[in-house]
Symmetry: C2
């Protein structure tokens, strides 16, 4: 029997970050990661395998990061947790004693119960390099690809699979717009225009009823009766927590199928923590459960879990929800609540918007347009959300907006924000979009 | 006699922003800008005239922004303020009544009392398009250019003047390193290496004693006795507040020659406000006077001054000091205090550093290295400064750091920061430099 102070189940973003954090907080403890995959994929990089990055091998998290931090690695599937004995068993018959256990088993792709979903050449986004390599082969061979789901993953896959390929790609989305769970309509429409410019066919407000074909997919049939030819189908409709080992051990699971955790990322067993996609998330705003799965949430949770294993050092204030994507060369990003989300939650809001080049003068090379929309609560003036579209600098600007939300800054605070500006890097200080979007809201509030 | 509710002296970043803010807060008031320049230059864009942007005409702030906001414009030099009568007089004999006056007269370049500084082909960075156009002609003709001062302006001019020209450029800097008033030594050295790679000659720890030549400059003589050949000399050693009109009117001036203002940007006259380079700045940290002149400070001050003209809406918490530059393709940026500045002010500090590509996987095209250094106060763990070098995304990341400083976030807060990450836009969530630099400091504090 092996004996470790800290055992972590899962070796992706949450597991690695929990291990490194534990190493920093508890330098004398023995730490082990148990994972079933030979190679760990960079989760957010998966769509880029199909265009920009060109192979799964180039999208791996190197194990060197574990060696460097003196973290043990066992490649084996954890199959059972004995909470009384504090022992994890594995598929290869290993047993490992732990003092503290972190469950970071992640998620598995959701496949809806659609007729024909088991046909040949129907794929989902499994975090498995061999599987993704076989998908790559099929994408290279495909003439007519259908992506089911027009969220970030669906849009990124479509954008990437189009690169250097003569391929028809259609996205089928149930909602009236792609990206609609993330953005308000104006931003969804701009995102849709961008992916259409890339030659992708969008089919919105449509549900897939059947995947047709003999043994191999030949097309899809929509609820409206329409059909779309397809030799390859990819599901990109989200994922569900991978919680079997936790449930079997009597760890509490919530009614949405995620591991229950407290504000210290602890489960109902005081020696077992959880973080990442496998565990529940609650909103920063109203502390209600939210359905968010992001590597950036997984890692911040892991930095909390890893720090709290032997004493309480950090607490979880809830997920703000900050995410970004790129379509073509255009960044789309969001943080906090959307206008529609705020309305659903009973917020009385004011929106301020500002738009202009992210450089000054506008003729500086490489400059792009950047539109920023900020959402404030009326009365308090506190920022509760932001969305942006345009220049790549938006990838960090959305993080600044996330910080403003986290620290509950008001429109007045943000209007007088002390940014640095530079001709090649940002808007001019007169036109800086963050300040001016806040100013537009301040004006409206008066 | 003309009659306005709000008269603003100066039409650059501070003046324009004060006018727009006043328009937003007081929509019914008549607003006039009085400025002497026919054309207003984008101040931070001036070095880029000499390379990337190629002419002063392309680096102007369009007057359309004034028309759009219903702001009057008088191109004329304000020569006198009659505080009793509340009247401004101009060089062309106009008189303008005001209810509230904003002084935003900016700064003028400092020229040290060096022998020969009045010779032909000795320039400074005057915000005057004709003057800068004549400097452009001389740069195009020059074979041997000397820039006196190795701060942001000097470095940016050197970098730009090298573009597409066969020219020898030397920077003479009094201090042991260029950029030393901004960055700690490690970052200065990296910045110096970058400008040297661009073929610029650096002469540090040297003082210019004389500019030699007949009527026209032929060289410079250094205090060490060394000489440098030069057919063109540019002073880039800073600027001093342009306060003559204010002083003549009995507005209080501090002992550093800047207009005194309170936390609402009001001078000793309750109807006269000041903002931008002409007025004093105090530190966000210890509220002591600081010598900072940045367009981004000018605009946030203008957003305070413009809002407070008829009633108090905003206050100044002091300058954090956030600035960025680009040398070659590399961003250098700083916010808050440096290590040496913190030591000078008696802070007991801990520094955390993290470095890695600003994309994931590292092979994503366009990805660059990014190093982030964060400075925390020991004990409280509160962030007081940050410096970074590398990818262009650093231009907005430094603004996130500025926000963290402004909201007094601790290393623990920042370590669990809720950023969004994307393969093409940022580091991976495991390696995100901001979080990891904070983690390194947390580790050190334990």
């Amino acid at each position: 029997m092996q004996d470790y102070d800290i055992v972590i189940l899962g070796g992706s973003a949450a597991g690695i970050t929990a291990a490194i954090t534990a190493r920093r907080f508890y330098p004398d403890k023995k730490v082990l990661i148990v994972r079933k995959e030979n190679n760990v994929l960079i989760p957010c990089g998966i769509p880029y395998i199909y265009g920009t990055v060109s192979s799964p091998d180039k999208n791996l998290i190197p194990d060197a990061i574990l060696e460097k931090n003196n973290i043990g690695l066992l490649i084996d599937e954890a199959t059972k947790i004995d909470r009384n004995g504090k022992i994890v068993s594995t598929g290869n018959g290993e047993t490992i004693k732990y003092k503290k256990l972190v469950i970071a088993t992640g998620s598995i792709p959701s496949i809806p119960p659609i007729k024909g979903a088991d046909k040949e050449n129907v794929f989902s986004v499994k975090k498995d390099d061999q599987y993704l390599a076989s998908l790559l082969k099929e994408v290279d061979r495909s003439k007519d690809m259908v992506i089911i789901g027009g969220g970030f993953i669906g849009m990124e896959f479509a954008d990437e699979c189009k690169k250097n390929r003569d391929i028809n790609i259609s996205i089928v989305e149930m909602l009236p717009h792609c990206l609609m769970l993330v953005f308000d309509e104006e931003f969804c429409e701009q995102g849709e225009a961008l992916i259409k410019e890339r030659g992708v066919n969008l089919i919105t407000s449509e549900r897939v009823e059947e995947i047709t074909g003999d043994t191999k997919v030949e097309g899809i049939k929509l609820a409206s009766g329409k059909t779309v030819k397809a030799d390859l189908v990819l599901f990109g409709i989200g994922a569900k927590p991978d919680i079997d080992i936790a449930r079997d051990a009597g760890i509490e699971i919530n009614d949405k199928g995620a591991i229950k955790v407290d504000r210290y990322m602890k489960t109902n067993d005081e020696n077992i923590f959880a973080c990442g996609d496998c565990c529940e998330k609650f909103s920063f705003f109203d502390k209600k459960l939210v359905n968010l799965m992001l590597a950036s949430i997984a890692t911040y949770e892991a930095r909390i879990a890893g720090a709290n294993l032997f004493d309480t050092n950090r607490s979880n204030e809830g997920a703000v929800g900050t995410y970004s994507t790129v379509i073509g060369d255009t960044t789309l990003a969001r943080s906090g609540m959307s206008v529609s989300g705020a309305a659903d939650n009973g917020y009385d809001i004011i929106v301020g918007q500002a738009e202009g080049p992210n450089c000054h003068p506008g003729c500086m090379p490489g400059g792009n347009n950047l539109k920023v929309s900020l959402i404030f609560e009326k009365g308090t003036g506190v920022i509760i959300g932001g969305q942006l579209i345009g220049a790549k600098s938006g990838g960090e600007l959305i993080n600044l907006i996330s910080g403003c939300i986290y620290k509950k800054m008001t429109a007045n605070d943000i209007a007088t924000f002390q940014m640095g500006t530079h001709p090649a890097l940002t808007a001019s200080p007169i036109a800086y979009q963050l300040s001016n979007a806040a100013e537009m809201a301040v004006k409206e509030m008066r």
